[in-house]
């Protein structure tokens, strides 16, 4: 997918959508899933000390708007074998909002 095809995201709306992620994730610390602070630009499976699935460690992707959009749409299709057993965020606008929030969220926010 081309970057230009992505919907513009609203970080404020994304903050509300991020509440859905908080069974397993936090911005500043690792939980069932890895921390999200500094996610954009990070290579997948590389937060020190976090125990990733072999599939995520092997995925070799770098998280950016495009790769996150694909992953969030259908995590198990994007990275078969991921432990993020979640059907995904179907709405492209919601994904864009979520990515905008992740890109803008302060790292000291718990």
């Amino acid at each position: 997918m081309l970057a230009a095809a992505l919907v513009a995201g609203d970080p404020k709306a994304g903050e509300r959508i991020y509440e859905r992620c908080q069974a397993c994730h936090a911005l500043a610390y690792d939980r069932v899933g890895p921390r999200h602070c500094g996610l954009l630009g990070r290579r997948a499976g590389t937060v020190a000390g976090f125990e990733y699935s072999p599939a995520m460690k092997r995925s070799r992707r770098v998280w950016n708007e495009q790769s996150l959009d694909r992953f969030l749409a259908d995590p198990l299709k994007a990275v078969p074998g991921t432990t993020m057993t979640y059907a995904g965020v179907a709405d492209p606008k919601e994904r864009a909002d979520l990515i905008a929030y992740l890109a803008s969220a302060a790292c000291d926010k718990r």
């Binding site: 992620c21 908080q22 397993c24 979640y86 059907a87 995904g88 718990r110």
Partner: protein, 189 residues
């Protein structure tokens, strides 16, 4: 019926299991009632279903630890503390059943971490603890909602949905305790 109406967690569990029999069938009943062999022999993609359950199990174990932090914080008034411990008990029951089912499906159940990172420095009042717990429960509802369609075994999906319902009740009660609209929307996402 709310779990709050029961005199003890044991009574609640008995009633839950009894009532579940009215609503759930097949391997979901086997799972919830502990009839492990029947549950293990049910169809579907065992590895995949075990993986879904294991992710849920890891989150349930973290929730148990989070409620323990809240209970030991010294910030909760007696009735609220009782409520927190009751909810923690539900999460323990969820975790026990999920672990048994993962095992019967041929997986290795996720274990509790020796240490969890919680934002304890931000917990300075009862409201802080309730808000923290409400956030976890809200996330759990979404996590189960996102997991239910993935199960190959529809009876396991039904069982997961029953946990979702319980955790949605926790979330609503916690919101109510915070003075917020307990059920702000017609749908959860």
């Amino acid at each position: 019926m709310s779990f709050l109406a029961f005199a003890s967690p044991l009574a609640a569990r008995r009633a839950f299991l009894g009532r579940s029999g009215l609503l759930l069938s097949g391997s979901a009943i086997a799972l919830l009632a502990g009839r492990d062999v029947l549950a293990a022999k049910s169809g579907g993609s065992k590895a995949s279903d075990a993986g879904i359950l294991n992710t849920a199990l890891a989150a349930e174990l973290e929730a148990v630890a989070a409620y323990q932090v809240g209970a030991e914080s010294g910030l909760l008034q007696k009735p609220v503390l009782a409520l927190a411990l009751q909810f923690q008990g539900h999460h323990k029951e969820h975790a026990e059943l999920l672990a048994k089912t993962v095992q019967k499906l041929g997986g290795v159940p996720a274990a509790a971490k020796s240490r969890y990172a919680f934002p304890v420095e931000g917990l300075k009042s009862q409201a802080d603890v309730l808000r923290f717990a409400a956030g976890l429960e809200r996330g759990a509802v979404s996590a189960y909602l996102g997991a239910v369609p993935l199960f190959a075994n529809r009876e396991l999906a039904k069982a997961a949905a029953s946990i979702l319902g319980d955790e949605a009740m926790h979330w609503a009660i916690l919101r109510n305790a915070l003075g917020e609209n307990p059920v702000p929307e017609a749908f959860v996402s």
